[in-house]
């Protein structure tokens, strides 16, 4: 039973950053802008917020510091994504190109800035992790459920779940969501009924920036105690989860859970007795999440639900 609780807790560590970032990518692509820059945005959000934590941790600690860092991560991610928005919306640039530029820019800038700003002159940013919640009061005492979801967690896990619910409501139950989706499917039609396509696309990209930055912070805080200008390819994995999830919030959540669980098995197989007994090379477990995803895709990709106008710059004058 303890193994099960451990697995579920670990799965959350892998799933939540993927979920949050993929949901961000969903808003961007649903508005019609392909966002391959998620990796770079995550790095930027992680960099700014971890730098903030490392400077403030002498005066603050615990959840208040984490909440402020979350705010910083979201703002910095959104601001950084403006570069992508400007290129792909105003300048009608190829969205893959500007996204790639951002991916290259983010680690370079964060290494450069970390060396400039930190008194020690090194590129790694150290921080003390004071954010883990050993047990949520009251809820943590519930048998089984308490062990699974309310012990040994981070606040960010609940924020991630909340974002999922808000995202689904925002996309399908509000005027804003309807307009956003229209801009990704048929911008000319949206424009003809008075929707400002440019503004909606800016909104989409900036939401993806905010959530991408937040995802970067969540990834670093839950897996490490220093930031070294990388999020280990999680931005690209989130992109994969987004496509896997067919641009739909609930399916994205399932895809992120699936991938997170597979990733957990591959990361922790050595502490699961019956898996160790199989005597299979560790590399097999390392490959399993990726192979499993490919296999699932083979059976689930018949009908792609990609937004029709994603990747096409909107030109008001085009016929």
């Amino acid at each position: 039973m303890n193994t099960l609780f451990f697995l579920i807790q670990q799965t959350m560590f892998f799933t939540i950053p993927l979920l949050v970032v993929a949901l961000g990518g969903m808003f961007s692509e649903r508005s019609g802008v392909i966002n391959i820059a998620l990796e770079g945005i995550m790095i930027m959000g992680g960099f700014c917020s971890i730098l903030f934590i490392s400077f403030m941790q002498d005066t603050m600690a615990g959840q208040p510091l984490l909440l402020l860092a979350i705010l910083i991560a979201m703002i910095s991610g959104a601001v950084f994504s403006l570069l992508h928005a400007y290129a792909s919306i105003n300048m009608k640039a190829d969205q893959t190109i500007s996204g790639t530029a951002l991916n290259l820019m983010a680690p370079a800038v964060s290494i450069f800035a970390a060396r400039m700003i930190q008194p020690s002159g090194v590129q790694q940013i150290q921080f003390t992790n004071t954010f883990r919640i050993a047990k949520v009061p009251v809820l943590g005492d519930i048998p089984i459920l308490g062990d699974m979801f309310f012990q040994n967690v981070y606040l960010t896990t609940y924020i991630g779940v909340a974002i999922l619910i808000i995202a689904a409501i925002l996309l399908y139950k509000t005027k804003f969501g309807l307009r956003l989706r229209a801009c990704g499917e048929h911008p000319q039609a949206a424009d003809s009924v008075g929707v400002n396509v440019y503004r909606m696309r800016y909104a989409g990209v900036m939401i993806s920036g905010a959530l991408g930055g937040l995802g970067g912070l969540i990834f670093v805080v839950t897996t490490s105690t220093n930031f070294n200008a990388t999020v280990a390819g999680y931005g690209f994995l989130a992109l994969a989860v987004l496509i896997f999830g067919q641009w739909n919030p609930w399916r994205i959540a399932l895809a992120a859970l699936f991938f997170g669980f597979m990733k957990t098995i591959s990361a922790t197989y050595s502490s699961i007795p019956w898996l160790v007994q199989l005597q299979v090379s560790g590399y097999v477990y390392k490959m399993i999440p990726y192979i499993a995803t490919l296999v699932v895709l083979v059976f689930s990709s018949r009908n792609s639900q990609a937004p029709k106008a994603a990747g096409v710059p909107y030109d008001q004058g085009a016929r």
């Binding site: 370079a108 800038v109 710059p313 030109d315 085009a318």
Partner: protein, 366 residues
């Protein structure tokens, strides 16, 4: 861009050939300018010295120039791989995996097949090509038959390839002490073709010539053959191509396979360069694949443009290594490259400006 031309049916003068290099050069100028500003911010006293290294470091000596060509070789190949796929409207983000799987093929032949004598390097490169092609066949097949988005399958095959290569290296050609692959036999190294005399002290070898030849081959294949036309047509519109009698499944698969073969050769060219390069057993994706995306974009997805883009990035990278002498971090080079690519994305706006300019001029004449 192109779809718009088709939609309107109005034949606007094709200035893409003229606007291509011009917008790239403008982008490079802007990138260098921003690089200079960053140097000024970080250390005004030595900024000029640092900038001089970026501009001139690559031609500081014959050795440096040789090393520029050596560094350019693998990224030209991965760039070509990505560019080739782009021309057929596929986004091969999996060049990283194909590159390292190709490198594995080359290293396996290079270590194990010593009986091949002086043909060993040729067989090694062929193995790299086949390994890379096979690795790209997976996303190709999945795209053609199961409609799996190639971006996601390429990301997955990148990781699978990385782990698989580490696993195979560890169980076949592993050097325990250094945690990397065994050195390849001397005959497995690509001949220097006298280039080492021309650029003494550098790591250059015949691999650069091979890369240039493959660029030319790719240009001819894409622009002068029916097969290349079919690949491109299929990229523009899968269904229209099928209607025109082109087997669209075969086209998608072939495009991916050729693209993967190119990335694989890139891996072979680097790991058989005789420059002391080994496959390190660590969980890191090969960065050459991602640099390839930058190279392809900067080269406007044109095979010859890719060649020059690869040279440019290698050139400022060598300059950047010298820039450290003036006390600057090498990441400034990445910032410059990123800026260049970012502004290269504005090509469409620049092209439109040029077009308006031309049209106005033409209007006055008539």
């Amino acid at each position: 861009m192109k779809t718009r031309k088709e939609k309107t049916g109005f034949r606007i003068p094709d200035l893409s050939r003229a606007a291509g290099p011009i917008s790239s050069i403008v982008a490079i100028a802007v990138g260098l300018m921003i690089g200079f500003i960053i140097l000024l911010i970080s250390n005004p006293a030595r900024a000029l010295e640092g900038f001089a290294w970026i501009i001139g470091g690559g031609i500081n000596s014959a050795k440096d120039l040789g090393n520029v060509l050596y560094y350019a070789t693998p990224i030209i190949m991965t760039g070509l791989s990505v560019a080739f796929a782009f021309r057929t409207s596929l986004f091969n983000i999996g060049a990283s995996g194909q590159f390292i799987v190709g490198a594995l093929g080359a290293v396996l032949v290079g270590v194990k097949c010593t009986f091949l004598g002086s043909f060993q390097w040729v067989v090694g490169l062929l193995a790299a090509m086949v390994f890379g092609a096979v690795w790209a066949l997976i996303p190709g097949l999945l795209k053609a038959y199961n409609n799996v988005n190639e971006v996601i399958s390429c990301i997955m095959t990148n990781y699978i390839g990385m782990y698989l290569v580490n696993w195979i290296v560890k169980s076949t050609v592993y050097h325990q002490l250094t945690n990397r692959s065994l050195p390849v036999a001397n005959e497995a190294n690509i001949p220097k073709l006298g280039l080492d005399k021309l650029f003494p002290g550098s790591s250059i070898n015949g691999g650069f010539i091979i890369a240039v030849l493959i660029c030319i081959f790719a240009y001819i294949l894409l622009n002068k053959t029916t097969f290349g036309f079919e690949l491109k047509a299929c990229g523009y519109n899968r269904f229209a191509s099928r209607y025109a009698g082109i087997s669209e499944k075969r086209s998608i698969i072939m495009a991916m396979v050729i693209s993967g073969a190119m990335a694989g050769i890139g891996g072979g060219l680097l790991y058989l360069a005789g420059s002391g390069k080994y496959i390190n057993v660590e969980d890191v994706l090969a960065p050459e694949g991602f640099t390839g995306i930058s190279v392809a974009l900067l080269g406007m997805s044109h095979p010859i443009g890719t060649l020059f883009a690869g040279l440019f990035i290698a050139y400022i990278t060598v300059g950047g290594s010298y820039m450290q002498l003036a006390g600057f971090v090498p990441e400034i080079i990445d910032i410059i490259t990123a800026t260049v690519i970012y502004f290269a994305a504005f090509a469409l706006i620049m092209r439109n400006l040029l077009q308006r300019f031309r049209l106005r001029k033409g209007g006055e004449r008539t």
